[in-house]
Amino acid sequence: MDYYISVATFAALNVTLALGLNLISGFCGQVSLGHAAFYGLGAYAAALLSVAGLPFVGSLAAGVLVAGLAGALVGFAALRVREDFLAIVTMGVGFLFLGVVRKQSWLGAEMGISNIPSPLEKGGYAMLAIGVAIVMLAISLHVRRSWMGRAFSAVAQDEDAARSLGINVPGFKIAAFFIGTAAAGLAGGIYAHMTQLIVPDAFNFVQSITILAMVVIGGIGSSFGVVAGAILLTLIPEMFRFINDYKLLVYGGLLLLVMRFSPEGLAGIGRSLARRWGLR
């Protein structure tokens, strides 16, 4: 039972991470290759404060804030550089985060932070993570239909045209990064308290790519598709032992195949099936 609870918790955390990235890359069109860094920032901030004695909720909130502010900072960078340049900058942010954390003794260096207090039972974390994931899905769906969501699509489709329509492009870019990375920070805080041990490598480039894979395989821009992608990519390695050893072969292969044959991901496949069966 414990095993299933922890798989469910990880699936929910991944849903939150993937929805956050989807908001940045799917809705607002800003490709980010460093999402794991914000997951890590949230985890490290929450863990450090918890170890220092701050209550659980306070540490989580601090994690959200730290990750969100760092994300907003990257949003400022996205005002300076676009598209391919931005992708490389966000990748750089990921490496920079790892490089800093690995070398600071007060951040635990390579050993990470251990003995993080754990105020909840396993079931409690599962409920919390699932609750957060559902709230995040609700936010995604709401944003998509709101004025903000339309502005995000305008920025994604043609930044200059959006600007000429009087849309506050810098503001919306920064907002997208703030919301998306703050969600990652919350996921990080929950993860840190649940596992009670965090190490730098949990937040490396491969983790960023894993989150990206969830978004892309689910269908970039589609909230339900991304949820499906995140759950699927969490479950597949758990179900097949071989896949757990060669996770990247499967993730990478799926990324390649989805991009090659169905760039709209699971959501695109779902839509075309629905059309074929005359549902829409």
């Binding site: 391919d84 490089g99 070398k103 990324l255």
Partner: protein, 288 residues
């Protein structure tokens, strides 16, 4: 003297970066694709080169095998991964490329084992030369000499041959180049072959420098290659070469002076971020 040595070590790394990044720039210039999967080509060349060296005992043969095998793999990647994606938004090719890279990292692990392989008889690594008080090993000399030779050959190709002129024409305007009889598709295959040959040579050289060829060796150098072409101003060849050298040297000094705060990869990317915030178009790029 110590500083001079750091400079030299940095320049050697800069040369390997240049070999890698030049190919990335060539591909980007033609197709606007960030060819991350060049790391796969790099590692593939390194493995086949190592197998050839351990089988026949010649490091020159290793370089040749690495170059040829990589040169064949690159165009295949273009044909089966990028070509069908050309009309799509740029992130599609980028994500596909990352997918190929991470999948093949595991692929190499599956085929050649997780711990990496060493050269049985790396004679270049064992020989050292003294140059006015500085000591360099044979591999480091080979890296510098080969880089100069290959980059000069590339410059001659680009400026003197018909194919090179066709390539430059296609870079500046594919439609007009095509209307003047340049076969754009052939130019692309040629570009991938050239980029991949350079990457394959770089792979064998880096393998020799570390005396180790491992499944993950291509990843970091490929990410840095991307950082370099962005630094140089995307698609800008001289900018790429300058950025390679600058990055190699900054890393070499950085690992000595700021090692307490940042690791080597972080130094490279911190430099990238700072430069881009000041000059979004890169070191030698032109403002739009």
């Amino acid at each position: 003297m110590f500083y001079l040595e750091l400079l030299l070590v940095g320049a050697v790394w800069g040369c390997t970066y240049a070999l890698m990044a030049l190919g990335l720039t060539v591909v980007y210039g033609l197709l606007r694709i960030l060819h991350v999967a060049q790391a796969t080509v790099f590692t593939f060349g390194a493995y086949l080169g190592l197998l050839a060296a351990n089988q026949f005992g010649s490091l020159w043969l290793a370089l040749l095998v690495g170059a040829v095998s990589a040169g064949l793999l690159g165009p295949l990647i273009y044909r089966f991964v990028y070509q069908p994606l050309l009309g799509r938004p740029p992130f599609v090719a980028l994500v596909a490329s990352i997918g190929l890279l991470v999948a093949m990292e595991d692929g190499f692990r599956l085929i050649f084992g997780p711990y990496g392989l060493a050269f049985d008889d790396n004679t270049w690594f064992a020989t050292s030369f003294s140059l006015g008080g500085l000591t360099l090993n044979g591999v480091q000399i080979a890296v510098v000499v080969l880089s100069i030779v290959l980059l000069t050959a590339f410059a001659l190709f680009a400026s003197r041959t018909r194919a090179g002129i066709g390539w430059r024409a296609t870079v500046s305007d594919p439609a007009i180049a095509a209307s003047f009889g340049v076969r754009v598709e052939q130019v692309r295959y040629l570009a991938f072959s050239i980029a991949s040959v350079l990457a394959g040579v770089a792979g064998v050289l880096v393998g020799l420098l570390n005396n180790l060829v491992e499944p993950g060796m291509g990843g970091v150098i490929s990410y840095k290659g991307l950082a370099i072409i962005v630094l140089g101003g995307l698609g800008n060849v001289p900018g790429t070469l300058v950025a390679s050298m600058v990055l190699g040297i900054i890393e070499s000094f950085g690992t000595v002076f700021v090692d307490r705060w940042l690791d080597r990869d972080a130094i490279a990317f911190l430099f990238l971020i700072i430069v881009l915030m000041i000059r979004p178009q890169g070191l030698l790029g032109k403002a739009h």
